[in-house]
């Protein structure tokens, strides 16, 4: 198992290089650089511009800049933000808990609803329940995040006045972050109503971000479950006189979960991409909002570093999923 993790980690290096290169080139293809963006319409003198560019190393050929950047991150330095002059890593670590909190809630929402929905649809195949679950899942899957978010805000926040529109917690409450997770910090602060306020701020973003993974997980669970329910060993389980709950929930589900777990792992990537949009819609102060702003400011180090860090996390989670896959599937575990 240990060797497997090492091998899997080494494979990550080329992936990282490719991601670093793509981000590096892509942001430079966008017209305008950090200095032009900051000087605005009036502009500054050509001499001053050249001076600034030289300071940031932007006057070098792109390949040279890229190699310098690689050298820099090779030494564990992700650089400093051009707009705030704070180290990228530090900004990231400050904002990341907000994103994690949102993504985690969305994932829990998707898994907790998606797997049972898929199982129910599979065991009631061809019935009204099956068609409704799958119909809702397909709709959810096809829903553009920004539109879905706005619809929910219109209904729950504007019409029904049930949930707040934006932010992580009501302005009434203030406490210093301990863990960075608002739900936990609000509990730790001991202030009345803080936790409920944090929770109510989380509901809509969670639903919006979790909808696509939910639909994917439900559909995947249904199809693998259908396949597994036709297997000989499910018949064996029934031949033992086990209850339908045990047959489906233990014998079939354990096997059906193997591909579903892989999909959940892949969904983490989707979740990060979705988080960028969702955070923007709900003014959620996380990585997504930070990245969008860095694009607008052409803050090269922030964008490059942020994307590298996010991809690192996505890759890490996928490695964890591979490990979990081995735990679920003894054939993989012993095959190595």
């Amino acid at each position: 198992m240990f060797g497997f993790i090492i091998r899997r980690t080494l494979l990550v290096i080329p992936t990282f290089l490719a991601i670093a290169f793509l981000t590096f080139v892509a942001i430079r293809l966008v017209p305008g650089d950090p200095i032009e963006v900051r000087t605005g319409e009036r502009g500054i003198s050509a001499a001053r511009l050249a001076e600034f560019r030289h300071e940031l190393g932007l006057d070098q050929p792109v390949w040279k800049q890229f190699l310098d950047y690689l050298w820099q991150i090779g030494h564990g330095d992700l650089g400093t933000s051009i707009s705030t002059h704070a180290p990228v890593l530090q900004e990231f670590l400050t904002l990341f808990p907000a994103t994690i909190e949102l993504a985690l809630c969305a994932m829990i929402f998707a898994v907790v609803l998606g797997i049972p929905a898929g199982v129910i649809a599979a065991t009631r195949r061809g019935t009204f329940i099956d068609y409704s679950v799958m119909g809702v899942a397909l709709t959810g899957f096809s829903m553009p995040i920004f539109w879905w978010g706005l619809l929910l805000i219109l209904l729950f926040s504007v019409q029904l006045d049930l949930t707040p529109v934006s932010g992580r917690i009501d302005l009434l409450y203030y406490f210093d972050p301990v863990t960075g997770f608002m739900l936990i910090d609000s509990l730790l602060s001991g202030q009345d109503g803080a936790f409920l306020s944090a929770l109510s701020h989380l509901i809509l973003p969670t639903i919006v971000l979790g909808t696509i993974p939910l639909a994917t997980i439900a559909r995947m669970t249904r199809s693998t479950m259908l396949e597994v329910l036709g297997e000989d060993y499910v018949r064996t389980a029934r031949a033992k006189g086990l209850s339908p709950f045990r047959v489906v929930g233990i014998h079939a589900l354990r096997n059906a979960l193997i591909p579903v777990v892989t999909v959940i792992g892949l969904q983490v990537g989707t979740l990060m991409a979705g988080a960028v949009l969702t955070e923007y819609i709900f003014s959620w102060p996380g990585i997504g909002t930070w990245l969008i702003e860095s694009i607008q400011r052409r803050d090269y180090p922030v964008l490059q570093g942020g994307i590298l860090l996010i991809s690192g996390i996505v890759i890490l989670i996928n490695i964890l999923v591979d490990v979990l896959y081995g735990v679920l599937n003894p054939r993989i575990r012993h095959g190595r």
């Binding site: 018949r235 029934r238 031949a239 033992k240 006189g241 209850s243 354990r254 096997n255 054939r331």
Partner: protein, 335 residues
């Protein structure tokens, strides 16, 4: 009273192209401690009939019967919960594909122990002891080590032994073995069969052996029921069946055994088992039968008495000659 009584059992499958009758009016009985072989080619409904007894058919199947009773209890009127208390405990089934019949995600110990836990409520230590005992009983070397093995680490023969151990776990009164040796190597087949028979003798359980191998039948069974296209077409004690088959299909099956073949060429039965769309109106074997007459095409054959092996035939054979047939020599059938 027989252990298993089946009277006029029919199973219909609801397929996209209409109802398909896989089992057609089958009656059978198995006594305690008896070995009954059910013989027939693929598609003769022999497995489906037994799956119906176990209650393991998919939702698309409809089971109807005049009587379906096990150990004096009417299986048709039991609630699913009551039925699950019988299935796996008093009647158990062994399947054709041992490798895919074990759940790949759980250890051998768990899968055997589960039956013990659900039906007998044994605690962990008791389960472990009983499982070891069972594994030893089915001749698995080093049972201690196999307890934590996963199915993919076992050979086909060992997997089938595990399945047998699982079936025996709660000391059932009836074991249904659905082609238990078909998927195994020839050398292993004999071992598994011997094991099944030895365990059956030892424990005195009833055994239904579904097979298409006449050799297996001759070696093991006491009584044989021959099935064709969902119907039972003949039933006799094993010796009598081999000596004097009464249904032309049984006779043709036996004639096709290499050991019994006469002449240079191995005789075979022309044609195939009728399916959903080419079902003959009267006798189902008529298109392939060398004795078929117009009567066989028009009139559903009667069930003969015990003396003619309960054959479902207008002209049951007696020592190879059809009784009451207009041309007893029969027609030549292209082989």
């Amino acid at each position: 009273m027989a252990l298993l009584e089946i009277n006029d059992l029919s199973v219909d499958f609801d397929t996209a192209s209409g109802l398909f009758r896989a089992v057609d009016g089958v009656s059978l009985s198995v006594d305690a401690g008896e070995i009954l072989a059910i013989v027939g080619e693929s598609g003769s409904g022999k497995s489906v009939a037994m799956l119906a007894v176990m209650g393991l058919l998919p939702w698309s199947a409809t089971v109807t019967a005049k009587r379906l009773a096990f150990d004096g209890r009417d299986l048709l009127t039991l609630t699913p919960r009551e039925r699950r208390k019988l299935v796996g405990k008093d009647m158990a089934m062994i399947f054709q594909e041992p490798m895919s019949s074990l759940n790949p995600c759980f250890t051998v110990g768990f899968q055997i122990g589960e039956t013990l836990k659900v039906h007998l409520g044994l605690d962990k230590t008791a389960r472990r002891l009983r499982t070891l005992e069972l594994l030893a009983a089915v001749g698995i070397p080093d049972p201690e080590r196999r307890l934590t093995a996963f199915p993919h680490q076992l050979s086909g023969g060992i997997s089938q032994r595990v399945m047998i151990a699982m079936a025996l776990a709660c000391r059932p009164k009836l074991i249904i073995a659905d082609e238990p040796t078909t998927a195994l190597d020839v050398t292993i087949q004999a071992q598994i069969l011997d094991l099944l028979i030895a365990l059956q003798r030892e424990t005195g359980t009833g055994l239904v052996l579904i097979t298409h191998d006449m050799g297996v039948v001759a070696e093991t069974a006491e009584r044989v029921s021959v099935h064709y296209a969902g119907q039972k077409i003949e039933e006799q004690p094993v010796r009598a069946l081999f000596d004097d088959p009464h249904h032309p299909y049984t006779a043709a099956l036996l004639a096709a055994l290499p050991e019994r073949a006469k002449g240079r060429f191995l005789p075979s039965i022309p044609g195939t088992v009728p399916g959903q769309f080419d079902r003959p109106p009267a006798c189902l074997f008529e298109p392939r039968c060398r004795f078929a007459t117009d009567r066989c095409r028009e009139k559903v054959p009667p069930r003969q008495g015990a003396i003619a092996g309960f054959a479902l035939c207008h002209y049951p054979l007696s020592h190879g000659r059809p009784i009451g047939h207009p041309r007893p020599e029969g027609r030549e059938v292209a082989a």
